[in-house]
């Protein structure tokens, strides 16, 4: 890329054989319950449980507990379970356990947020000793992702026996994953040891020690002093300082997160496309990538990082598409020209903008944009809100105006972006279409995306939607963010590192070769 | 370290081996090493078994001199010159040796019995800790108990339970006794008593002084008594030093002072004391104010206030010159004026008792009947238990009684500062028992008819305002019917202050001046009754007279005085009638002269008997 002082994508040195007794991992926050469906973050729990499917680093679905799967009708999916999988306690995994685990997603008593991926789910039945058949209420081309995100399996017997306190340190659900917790605290971390019955390859790391260090600076100091070996919570706005930690390698894997400005296209003042475009032209995306993100981010074109499309298109086609996405280069003449066409030809506008207090990086982005917009005689005022309040106001879906947020894909498919940000059905409270961006044309594309059985068609429709939104300047992608990891130089990661393969990264940690 | 010599007969006061117990020579005390002086060139000598009094007005430097004798001068002050105790030089002595000297060699008793004892420890602890540090060994429990009882008995406390009490559970007199016991615990050769009775009632004062004298005689101890009361000094001591502005101006035996005074200041002091036995025509103290010590380093400090001063007096500081071998004075002109001094003193003594007519028919101004007051909600105790008296036109009424007898309570009820529990107060025909029940207009009228002057000169004026502001504010409350209003300056002239005082703030005024301003403020509304609650109790004698004279003039000008005091000499000077208060009841009433001359009630007799007379018989 043009700014390209720092290449995205993490390359680690080659691994050396040998065991690692303990890997100490720092976390920004505790994860609450030890239950994938209810934990507030999954950094620890992912090491203990397996889902039916998983992703590789590129974002392709790969077998996990299910050794294979197929779609037999628009509403029927059949999964073959892997043989000989055992829980931590040595008992074998059965279809009963999987059925129980899947049903938890829609059990109102569990009230799992993952239920959102199960909206089309009707029922699951065992259709063979190791075979499960899922029946959907309606065709849902994205169900297959649910089997990788939400379909983590726990032992039914234990769960039933501990119905009341499942997920608390006293009753941690039994799983099949590589590590099981030896001690655990919902707020402060815990220690995980290897699962002797793990079905997969035996990892090099013997045990994982998680500790919560909310303050990023303390986290950095902890790395520097060797008190922790690794953390995924690297504040990108401080990447420069972090890069200088002598004993640590900070790598930036490909991410999937985009920093985005949205404009409420359905009410004043941002229902004026020229104003939106003027602002888009005035934002120094490269400057932000370089300074705020210390060159770890990439200036964005549209809202979806091209890597997402690489799963479906070839490299060339992806590039072609990407280059066709309308872009608003940082150009004040163009900005002023657009502004002149708007209802605010001389600016004189005040934009009041809240942002999420915990997103310290937003503060810097906004400080920069504030400076940028000053030149259009637009006054950007921003104030931080505590996360709770920020979400409360945002999800009320009123007076949206201009918003800054980041959007991360939950699964590697354009749909995860376009649906939540661009569907008319999502232009309601508690949903994500903050731009109220929809039109006859976009809804037509959305329909294809939602229902068309042809994968390529669906993806292309998504690609079109991205271009539409960009042209409309409803959403302005600022930067594509990487997925960082800080790892002590003693260690390395075997294979590619990206957000999609994050789930099992500790199993791939090895001793670094020189 | 009991000194066997000290147990000899107290009669033999000649320096047996030439060393006096305490001697000071050219003592100077300054603020810091180079700062302004507070005590200058003081000479003093005290022999074994002798009682010496140091007399002077407030700020003269008495306490500092006393402190120098025990090497306890407050930090920040610098002592130079010579202070010898039994020959040992205290000025150059290190702190450790001084400490070993204290208690056993010299002990000290302080003025305020309410602050002299550690509030957090029992009486007994005070005694034991002193005894222990004296003997250097641990007393056993029973030994200690015996010793405590014995020591308490020595100071007239027979109840051994007192040892278990905390200081706050004891009366002032008791505390002073306990303190005395502590001071005596190491059997000192010299006891310094710094105004040991000033804070006590007259009756208690007499008892404590008696005790002090009996202990002194029994032990043959030297005593340096500090007091501002000449009569107290005369009745207890063998010799008296009079201090003025940081140095001694006269030194003599008590009789020599009255027979042949040799310093104008002493004469001034003696004549300023109001007599107990008769009413004096003209009351006046010494004009002017005590100067700051540093302003009179090179002259006779008293010159500015002295009637006999010549320009010579302002050249050089006069030394203490012998008059006889026991008498010395720092007046250069003593030879010239000795006769005049003597006659001046005689004149005041002989001044005619002013006849007071006894007229009980004049119009009633203020009538109090059945007045009762309790501060407790449950009425568990009464500060006033039924007071009846009448104040008539043209007469002034004195209210006397010991501390706590209810004088101030009565005054506050009259002023509406306290609500009486019961009874009736009538002022010029208006019922003012409850001020709260009065209307706005009535209140305004009442406030124009009764005014007051309080005891404490330092807080009776608002320190934030000028004198002029204070007086003008009072004048603004004057009723139209009270006649044409004077100006603030005129008011000041009336109380004998210059008009220029109007621009000053209270800080810049002395206690006597402040009291006069307070009187002027009260007079601003031309009240019918002026209530004075101990108006001169906090003032030095030399100033008292001036204030009393102003008040007397006020009472002659058509304002009735209601004069509260515990000082029988003062009440004699100021009032026509008197009521005697004991624990909230009137035990005796009548004309001032009849009550004081022929007291009927035992309580009144005790009060009258407790007034210091100035001769040794008073304490026996």
């Amino acid at each position: 890329s043009k700014s390209g002082s720092k290449a995205l994508g993490a390359d680690f040195p080659a691994a050396k054989p040998g065991d690692i007794a303990t890997l100490k991992i720092g976390l920004a926050s505790g994860q609450g319950r030890y239950d994938v469906l209810l934990a507030t973050s999954s950094a620890i729990v992912v090491n203990s449980y397996d889902a039916l499917l998983a992703w590789n680093s590129k974002g392709e679905l790969v077998p996990s507990l299910a050794k294979s799967w197929k779609q037999t009708s628009p509403t029927t999916y059949v999964y073959e379970l892997r043989d000989g999988v055992k829980f931590w306690d040595g008992t074998p995994l059965t279809t009963d356990d999987v059925i129980y685990s899947m049903n938890r997603n829609v059990d109102p008593k569990v009230a799992s947020p993952y239920g959102v991926y199960y909206t089309a789910f009707d029922k699951v039945t065992a259709t063979g000793p190791n075979q499960l058949t899922v029946q959907l209420k309606r065709p849902d081309p994205y169900w297959r992702y649910a089997s990788a995100i939400a379909t983590t399996v726990i032992q039914k017997k234990f769960a039933l026996a501990h119905a009341k306190d499942l997920g608390t340190p006293a009753a941690i659900p039994i799983g099949t994953g590589p590590y099981l917790p030896k001690s655990y605290s919902p707020a402060t971390g815990g220690t995980l040891v290897q699962n002797p019955h793990y079905w997969g390859e035996k990892p090099a790391v013997q045990s994982l020690e998680f500790s919560v260090i909310p303050d990023p600076e303390s986290r950095r100091l902890a790395l520097q002093s060797g008190a922790i070996d690794a953390t995924l919570d690297v504040p990108l706005e401080q990447a420069k300082t972090w890069d200088q930690i002598p004993n640590t390698r900070v790598a930036y894997g490909s991410g999937g997160n985009t920093k985005i400005f949205s404009f409420d296209t359905k009410s004043a003042p941002f229902n004026d496309i020229h104003l939106r475009r003027a602002i888009a032209h005035a934002i120094d995306r490269e400057g932000i990538a370089k300074s705020v993100f210390n060159g770890t981010a990439k200036p964005a074109r549209g809202v979806i990082p091209p890597e997402i499309f690489e799963v479906f298109f070839g490299k060339d086609e992806t590039d072609k598409w990407y280059n066709s996405v309308p872009v608003y280069d940082y150009d004040l003449t163009k900005a002023k020209a657009e502004l002149a066409k708007s209802k605010y030809p001389n600016g004189g506008l005040t934009i009041d903008m809240p942002f999420q207090a915990s997103q310290t990086v937003d503060r810097d982005i906004l400080a920069t944009v504030q400076q940028n917009l000053k030149q259009l005689n637009i006054d950007l005022k921003y104030r931080s809100l505590p996360d709770t309040q920020y979400f409360a106001e945002l999800y009320r879906h009123q007076k949206l105006g201009m918003q800054l947020f980041y959007f991360g894909a939950t699964y590697p498919d354009p749909f995860t972006y376009t649906f939540y940000m661009m569907a008319k059905s999502q232009a309601v409270p508690n949903a994500f279409n903050f731009a109220n961006f929809y039109s006859g044309e976009s809804e037509k594309l959305m329909r294809i995306q939602e229902t068309d059985p042809d994968l390529q068609k669906r993806v292309r429709a998504g690609a079109e939607l991205v271009k539409l939104a960009a042209d409309d300047a409803a959403y302005i992608g600022i930067n594509f963010l990487p997925f960082p990891i800080a790892l002590n130089k003693k260690y390395t990661i075997d294979g590619e590192f990206s957000i999609w393969s994050f789930a099992n990264w500790p199993t791939r940690v090895r001793i670094a070769g020189s | 370290m009991t000194d066997p010599v000290a147990l000899q007969s107290p009669v033999d006061k000649e320096p047996a081996n030439g060393t006096p117990l305490l001697s000071m020579h050219d003592l100077r005390i300054t603020r810091g090493i180079k700062g302004p002086p507070l005590v200058t060139g003081l000479d003093l000598e005290l022999l074994r078994g002798e009682t010496v009094a140091l007399v002077g007005e407030s700020g003269a430097g008495k306490s500092l001199t006393a402190r120098a004798a025990i090497k306890l001068v407050p930090p920040g002050l610098h002592v130079s010159g010579e202070v010898r105790f039994q020959g040992a030089d205290l000025v150059s002595m290190d702190e450790e040796s001084a400490r070993s000297l204290r208690g056993g060699g010299v002990a000290m008793l302080l003025q305020d019995p309410f602050t002299i004892l550690n509030p957090l420890t029992r009486t007994r602890t005070h005694l034991i800790e002193t005894l222990r540090s004296a003997s250097g060994r641990n007393l056993s429990r029973s030994q200690a108990a015996d010793e405590v009882a014995r020591r308490l008995a020595e100071v007239g406390i027979d109840d051994p339970a007192v040892g278990d009490r905390y200081p706050f559970e004891l009366s002032g007199g008791m505390r002073q006794r306990v303190a005395l016991a502590c001071a005596l615990a190491k059997d000192p050769a010299l006891l310094i008593a710094d105004e040991p009775t000033t804070a006590l009632d007259a009756t208690t004062q007499r008892e404590v002084l008696r005790l002090l004298r009996s202990v002194q005689q029994a032990r043959g101890m030297g005593v340096l008594l500090i007091t501002h009361d000449l009569r107290v000094a005369f009745s207890i001591s063998d010799r008296v030093y009079v201090m003025y502005a940081g140095s001694v101006v006269e030194q003599a035996r008590p009789t020599e002072f009255t027979d042949s005074p040799a310093h104008p200041y002493t004469v001034g002091l003696l004549s300023a004391e109001p007599p107990t036995d008769r009413r004096r025509k003209q009351l006046d103290g010494i004009p002017g104010q005590v100067p700051a010590v540093e302003t009179v380093l090179d002259q006779c400090a008293f010159a500015a206030r002295c009637a006999w001063a010549t320009p010579d007096c302002e050249v050089g500081k006069p030394p203490l010159l012998p008059v006889t071998d026991t008498h010395a004075s720092a007046c250069r002109r003593q030879d010239h004026i000795a006769h005049e001094l003597r006659t001046a003193l005689k004149e005041t003594k002989a001044a005619d008792a002013e006849p007071v007519d006894d007229d009980q028919t004049a119009a009633e101004i203020l009538r109090v009947s059945g007045l009762r007051k309790s501060y407790q909600r449950d009425r568990s105790s009464w500060a006033l238990k039924g007071i009846d008296f009448t104040l008539r036109e043209g007469r002034s009424l004195g209210i006397v009684g010991e501390s706590g007898s209810g004088k101030t309570t009565l005054a506050r009820c009259l002023l509406g500062l306290e609500e009486p529990t019961d009874g009736m107060i009538e002022l010029l025909g208006t019922d003012i028992t409850s001020y709260r029940g009065l209307g706005r207009k009535q209140l305004r009228e009442i406030h124009g008819q009764i005014q007051c002057v309080f005891q404490d000169p330092y807080s009776s004026l608002n320190r934030s305002h000028t004198i002029g502001f204070i007086l003008r504010e009072a004048l603004s409350r004057r009723a139209a019917t009270a006649g044409p209003a004077p100006s603030a300056e005129e008011l000041l002239e009336r109380v004998g202050l210059g008009a220029h005082y109007a621009t000053r703030r209270p800080v810049a005024l002395s206690g006597g001046q402040r009291q006069r301003v307070a009187i002027a403020r009260a007079l601003a509304v031309a009240p019918k009754v002026l209530l004075c609650d101990e108006p001169v109790a906090a003032l030095d004698v030399s100033v008292q007279g001036q204030v009393l004279q102003v008040l007397r003039e006020v009472s002659e000008g058509g304002t009735q005085l209601l004069f509260i005091t515990h000082d029988l000499a003062v009440v004699r000077q100021m009032t026509d009638d008197i009521v005697v208060l004991e624990q909230g009841t009137i035990v005796e009433a009548g004309t001032t002269s009849s009550v004081l001359d022929q007291p009927q009630h035992a309580y009144t007799q005790r009060l009258v008997g407790a007034v210091p007379t100035g001769d040794t018989g008073w304490l026996s």
Binding site: V116, I213, D215, A222 | M108, L117, P119
Partner: protein, 317 residues
């Protein structure tokens, strides 16, 4: 007997404080924008059904007074409910977290007492001399230095630059915990030391000017006896009161210190719970703070009663 009543009355006031504080905080949480279910969702997409299920699970839809009433009735039985974020019983969370904070505040207080009282006494004794000036200057600096600034400074100097002490966390095992405690305790203590030194100096000065001290000296009592039984004992009322206030205020200081040093304690818990609208935990912490404040004040008053017979007379008769 009267003492019993006194204590009961004081506890009653404490209970009142607790009720008022908990009600206040409850209302505050109730009216404040933002809802716990959104925290649980953490910005993830959700369907209305899921939101409803979460609200039902935590009874968030009950009327305000019902919610408070339920909390209150359970709180009386020492059941403060479960954390919304972690599902752990609040009592367990508090118990776990209070130990590090207790260690911190005790360490801070011990440091304060062993430094501040002698320093204050020393300054009073050396009144207006060089020693006093020096103590006063340090006191001034200490009082002016915000706890967090001291913390950051200590962290960088002794944790990072010199690497003498660990830079974050509580540590495990006694030795390590002690090591982890050093810098935070100092950071917490700096202001406290300054404050107590000042109080001690003032108290000792005023005591030292009293007649009873002069009288004690005039009796030739030993220096140490005068310092102990006169100066120290009589100054101890304000010192004890000041220390009590410090203890009552520890939680406030602990927030700053624990955040700076990433310690897991009640202070950092407070910040997290408040930010995540974890109502039961915030309530539990408020109750804890109210109880601490009440008990500390009661303790201070009882100590003062033990010291001062005048107070004793006033209270017990």
């Amino acid at each position: 007997m009267r003492l019993g009543w006194y204590v009961l009355r004081r506890l009653g006031v404490g209970a009142l404080l607790l009720v008022i504080a908990s009600f206040f905080v409850f209302s505050l949480l109730y009216i404040s924008p933002g809802r716990p279910e959104q925290i649980l969702l953490g910005g993830r997409p959700a369907t209305p059904e899921i939101m409803a299920a979460i609200r039902a699970k935590y009874s968030l839809d009950d009327p305000f007074l019902v919610q408070y009433g339920r909390w209150f009735l359970e709180a009386i039985r020492l059941d403060f409910g479960q954390s919304i974020v972690t599902d752990q019983p609040v009592t367990t969370v508090l118990a776990e977290r209070s130990l590090p904070t207790l260690a911190l505040s005790v360490a801070g207080l011990v440091l304060t007492m062993i430094i501040a009282v002698p320093a204050g006494m020393y300054a009073a004794a050396k009144r207006n001399k060089v020693g006093d000036r020096l103590v006063s200057m340090l006191t001034l600096l200490g009082m002016s230095a915000p706890t967090f600034a001291v913390g950051v400074l200590l962290l960088y100097v002794f944790g990072v630059a010199l690497a003498w002490f660990p830079v974050f966390g509580n540590g495990e095992g006694f030795g390590s915990q002690l090591q982890h405690l050093v810098l935070p305790a100092i950071a917490l203590a700096v202001t406290q030391i300054a404050y107590v030194t000042r109080q001690t100096r003032a108290a000792a000065l005023s005591v030292y000017g009293q007649d009873y001290v002069t009288f004690a000296r005039s009796r030739g009592l030993g220096r140490s006896l005068i310092w102990r039984r006169y100066a120290l004992l009589n100054s101890s009322l304000p010192i004890v009161t000041a220390s009590g206030l410090l203890l009552a205020y520890t939680l406030a200081g602990a927030v700053l210190v624990e955040v700076t040093f990433s310690r897991e304690g009640l202070g950092s818990l407070m910040l997290q719970a408040v930010q995540s609208k974890d109502i039961p935990v915030v309530q539990g912490l408020v109750a804890f703070a109210a109880v601490t404040v009440t008990l500390v004040n009661l303790g201070v008053d009882l100590i003062n009663l033990a010291i001062d017979p005048r107070l004793r007379k006033e209270v017990i008769g």
